[in-house]
Amino acid sequence: MLFRPVNNNYHDFVIDRDKDRCINCKVCVRQCSYEAHYWDENRQRVMHDNSKCVGCHRCEALCPTAALTIRKNPSEFRDNALWRPVFLKNIYKQADTGAVLLGAMGSPVDIPCYWDHLLLDASQVTNPSIDPLREPMELKTFLGSKPRSLEFATARDGSRRLKTKMPPQIELRYPIMFSAMSLGSINYNLHLAMARAAEETGICYNTGEGGLHKTLYRYGPNTIVQVASGRFGVHRDYINAGVGIEIKIGQGAKPGIGGHLPGEKITAMVAETRMIPLGSDAISPAPHHDIYSIEDLLQLIYALKETSEYRLPVSVKVAAVHNVAAIVSGIVRAGADIVAIDGVRGGTGAAPCMIRDNVGIPIELAIASVDQRLRDEGIRSQASIVAAGGIRCSADAVKAIALGADAVYIGTAALVAVGCTLCARCYTGKCPWGIATNDPKLAKRQNPDLAARKLANLIRAWGHEMEEMLGGMGLNSIESLRGNRDKLRAVGLSREEMDILGVKHAGN
């Protein structure tokens, strides 16, 4: 194409416009934030530039005459099992720019997904299944350190009361929470929507590392505040604003890597909330510069416990990496009440593709090995485990809990609920769905009323499904499924994989 790099035509998508249906109403032109659609003055009709399409499907979704279909570019390179097109395109891109390849959302590469190789049990004849519509079914979950034993005191009138002082707990109506997505990486409308949906469904959302906007403090009973390496927006009121505090060490999409929210995204609201100058880059260092050991982590955990006067459980979030079981054991011993583990398929607003696609381990293996390790060491009850990173449906969540998690975090699924199509261009700040953008014109595409309803619907829908699955297994409480790996069977996994997962093969 004229005046463009020669590899410009190796684009990923083509826009298929049905000429019989297109009325040139320009809805697509107004919706596309990448300017793939445009009004051609010479031709007096809407035209498009395929090379600009990121495959977000916004135009297709809003086209009032259904004239648009976004397709994969059918242009094919010569087949080569080793040099697949993605590698060629990446090299062309880097040869032009000399830059690190940026990506977003979860890794699209084909890392084995163990959820798809695990099957759930159900009751037949020998034990009764339960109909959750007719009988009570408990999904309520408490996150926090549990005492080893309980002591009761008997009063004179014979009534008994709990003598053991319970450590602080987070009460959830469903074992699901909205993952940490910071204000700035996603916009205020979605933070408000998550807060409202969490309140409505009795769960929690996580503020992410960008602080908590002053108008959202009233959702405190459904908020977990995060303290990350950048310490953005962290102050005493913030730490005490929610029902839990989370120290973010790592993130599944980019273990070992910090964060960088570019200055263009630091609007007045984001700057105020993060307590940084307007328009300055918000850089989260790769490590916490005050945490170089488990002992250092212990200091921060207890600093936060002191600040919150031991009213709130402290969570530590780590990416699932090679020695995750040993690391989590250390974290629990350092005093964490909750450990959140983010698997290799976890999402992000921006990460170097090489890191996102090649660093970390699948969450299924991490959960199983951590749960086993903590049990072996007799400290499993000291902390709750939250699984994150690529939980796509309620069955994934149920399997995570059967593997040993107490609850799951959902980030990508929550964004998909409000329109995200995983085009994975969050880092451009031009999200056409109004999610990963602070551009006022784009951000208002998320109406918090609408978004909150969709998020709440998702949680309730998953809740119904979880109840059905539990009922089918003859269980009437999620508590009976926790770490109950006998309810799982593997299909098509090796002996080694099954050993780590602690499950038998189907048929056994």
């Binding site: 009325i23 005459t65 609408l450």
Partner: protein, 148 residues
């Protein structure tokens, strides 16, 4: 009375309300025919318009005011207030195309018919079962039809 209220905070400027309005007031009730044929041949135009300035946009249509200036200004009795429904009703037969109402409307919610000496004004999709078409079509619920 129930009115269509725009919410400028969440109007995304897609203009889909205009297309819905156009279709609802067309003979064919088909967007493609209404937009490509009826619009050019018969001057079919939407009763509402999206106004934009920078990041702000809002879809404006007749407010069906309690004390409508357009009715006071109308010289031919084509515009009147329906005492029962509360709507500001337009009778095209009586309209003489003097544009007094256009001058009087503080919202700029009345527009000239592109071909005839008549006006185009929101009738709240009278008779349409699902209510005003613009409200039904708005993808971001930036238009609501409610009593306030």
């Amino acid at each position: 009375m129930k009115r269509v209220y725009p919410n400028k905070d969440f109007c995304i400027g897609c203009h889909i309300c205009e297309l819905a309005c156009l279709t609802a007031h067309s003979k064919s009730q088909d967007l493609i025919i209404a937009y490509t044929e009826e619009r050019t041949a018969e001057g079919l135009s939407p009763c509402k318009r999206v106004f934009e300035r920078g990041a702000q946009c809002v879809a404006i249509s007749c407010r069906h005011c309690d004390e409508p200036s357009c009715v006071a200004a109308c010289i031919s009795g084509a515009l009147r207030k329906d005492p029962e429904t509360g709507r500001t009703v337009y009778d095209e037969q009586k309209c003489v195309g003097c544009w007094s109402c256009l001058m009087a409307c503080p919202y700029g919610a009345i527009r000239r018919h592109p071909l005839k000496a008549k006006i185009v004004k929101c009738d709240l999709c009278q008779g349409r079962e699902a209510g005003p078409a613009c409200v039904q079509a708005c993808p971001n619920q930036a238009l609501v039809y409610e009593e306030r």
